[in-house]
């Protein structure tokens, strides 16, 4: 086939998919008020997506912070400004690394679990059975999982930042002997509310994007073993690309 028509066709397909996802998001938002009445379902999903992702988030945060401490120290030492390590690590973490890496890890840990769980519920007729019991699966199954992810993401990103700063401190102060007082005081002076706000907004938007992609892929998975597998893979790939794309847009918007 002609490459131009091929490109045109895939562009149209992408637009149609975007339209479908937007309509699905609208359905979720419309069902949200009723789903909020059953808050215990949402709390359980915050636990599933959030608390169960804590170990991977904390470990990754620690190592990312430690690498930042090491690399930052090497670089700043050349200019004799090792004390700036605290502010450099904190800004890097809060504005950029925490939201992005948390979102990528979330897609891999919680997003795949959401997509395969909902997909398997579809494949084993559990969603049809709910429909037959006059219970809307969007309201009972999809929205609580979606909201659970949306709420968990900024919390996870915040924890990632905290552990990351601790990791940077561990390497910078404890091992490389940067002065502890200036490490913390420069951080406090250099990181202002706008930086924290940027990270918060990013992780909230990533939370919506990753959770939406996961529940959408699960809900519309082809009800076979192969279909659910493909939905899981797509969740990770689409989430990763979407997060990095949105990150660029948001970063330029905050400049």
């Amino acid at each position: 086939m002609n490459p131009v028509t091929e490109l045109w066709r895939s562009l149209i397909e992408a637009l149609v998919a975007l339209g479908d996802v937007s309509r699905f998001l609208l359905r979720l938002i419309l069902a949200t008020p009723r789903a909020l009445l059953r808050f215990e379902l949402i709390v359980r999903q915050i636990f599933n997506s959030g608390a169960l992702s804590l170990v991977i988030i904390m470990l990754s945060g620690l190592f990312v912070g430690m690498v930042l401490g090491l690399q930052g120290f090497q670089l700043l030492q050349r200019f004799g400004s090792e004390e700036a390590l605290g502010v450099a690590a904190a800004i890097g973490l809060v504005k950029e690394l925490s939201p992005v890496i948390t979102a990528l890890l979330f897609a891999g840990r919680a997003g795949t679990a959401l997509a395969s769980e909902i997909g398997l519920m579809r494949a084993t007729d559990q969603l049809s059975a709910m429909e037959m019991m006059a219970v809307d699966p969007i309201e009972r199954v999809v929205v609580p999982r979606f909201l659970g992810g949306v709420i968990a993401m900024p919390l996870l990103a915040a924890i990632f930042s905290v552990i990351g700063v601790y990791g940077a401190q561990l390497v910078g102060v404890q091992i490389m002997h940067v002065d502890s007082g200036s490490f913390w005081s420069q951080m406090r002076a250099g990181v202002d509310f706008r930086d924290v706000n940027e990270g918060l907004v990013k992780s909230c938007i990533f939370g919506v994007a990753c959770s939406l992609i996961a529940v959408y892929q699960g809900y519309y998975a082809i009800p076979t073993a192969e279909g659910v597998g493909r939905a899981t893979t797509r969740t990770v790939v689409s989430s990763a690309v979407m997060v990095l794309f949105l990150d660029y847009l948001l970063t330029s918007a905050f400049l």
Binding site: D125, Q126, S128, A129, M132, M133, A134, V135, R140
Partner: protein, 271 residues
């Protein structure tokens, strides 16, 4: 054949999937308070018919009236109201795997009523007792055998005291004991609860022993209709083939294919 008080009334129903007609002028009347079996070879759309009756699929053309409601014009709220008067047993049970047996049966009550915990407990235990699984209340669905899972699903289907109970292939993959249990439950629940039961199945002997009336579907139409005994005595070739389990007849053994020798002798194009 034409009962005026039919609880499900289907007239001249046409339905197609991807241009392939499944139903081509189907007429079915389901009498209230009785067990009606819908039989037919695989692929004749028995399950599709159930999904049309329960509103999971929308009728393509023709009329489909369930409990006085026209399914084609029914909006979502009306459909959900109608479904509270229906129960459905799915082929694999379709229990919610993250809830225990007790919670599965309690699920419709918790979703649709404000009953006290004590009353819910009593209702659920009564229904579990009716299917003989009160002792399994605390198990998870994964710990149940196929037959037990289907009985739990049956308890869940009757917990809201429906008027119509729909069974999709309730005998598939069951051992003879579980099969006997399910058969007896279908009959007993129908008579004790005053239900209307619609059973889709292709297990001729099993369903003939319990059904009051049978519809045999073939080629998108009703091939035969009557009491099981009448069908046994029928001389229609389709009925004879189906009841007798003959491999070839009006329903051909071969899926439509090009000429056999021609394809064998061809030089392997296409495959």
């Amino acid at each position: 054949m034409n009962t005026p008080a039919a609880i499900v009334e289907i007239r001249d129903l046409h339905y197609a999937v991807n241009g392939r007609p499944i139903f081509d002028g189907l007429d079915v009347d389901i009498a209230p308070g009785r067990i009606t079996a819908i039989m037919g070879p695989s692929g004749t759309g028995k399950t599709t018919l159930l999904r049309l009756i329960t509103g999971q699929l929308r009728a393509y053309s023709g009329s489909l009236i369930v409990a006085g409601q026209d399914m084609r014009s029914l909006r979502r709220a009306g459909l959900y109201a109608l479904r509270r008067r229906m129960g459905m047993l799915f082929q694999n049970g379709a229990l919610l795997t993250d809830l225990s047996v007790f919670e599965n049966v309690a699920f419709p009550l918790r979703e649709h009523t404000d009953l006290t915990e004590r009353l819910i407990r009593q209702l659920v235990l009564t229904k579990l007792q009716a299917v003989g699984l009160r002792g399994a209340a605390d198990l998870m669905p994964a710990e149940l055998s196929g037959g037990m899972g289907r009985r739990v699903a049956l308890a869940r289907a009757i917990v809201m005291d429906p008027e119509i109970l729909v069974y999709d292939e309730p005998f598939v993959g069951l051992d003879p004991i579980s099969l006997g249990v399910i058969l007896r439950l279908i009959r007993r629940l129908n008579d004790v609860l005053g239900l209307t039961s619609i059973v889709v199945s292709h297990d001729v002997t099993e369903i003939s022993s319990v059904a009051d009336s049978v519809y045999l579907l073939s080629g998108g139409k009703v091939a035969a209709h009557g009491a099981p005994r009448d069908l046994q005595a029928s001389s229609s070739p389709v009925v004879r083939q189906f009841i007798g389990g003959l491999p070839d007849g009006p329903v051909p053994f071969h899926f439509p294919a090009p000429d056999y020798f021609g394809e064998l002798l061809a030089r392997g194009e296409g495959h």
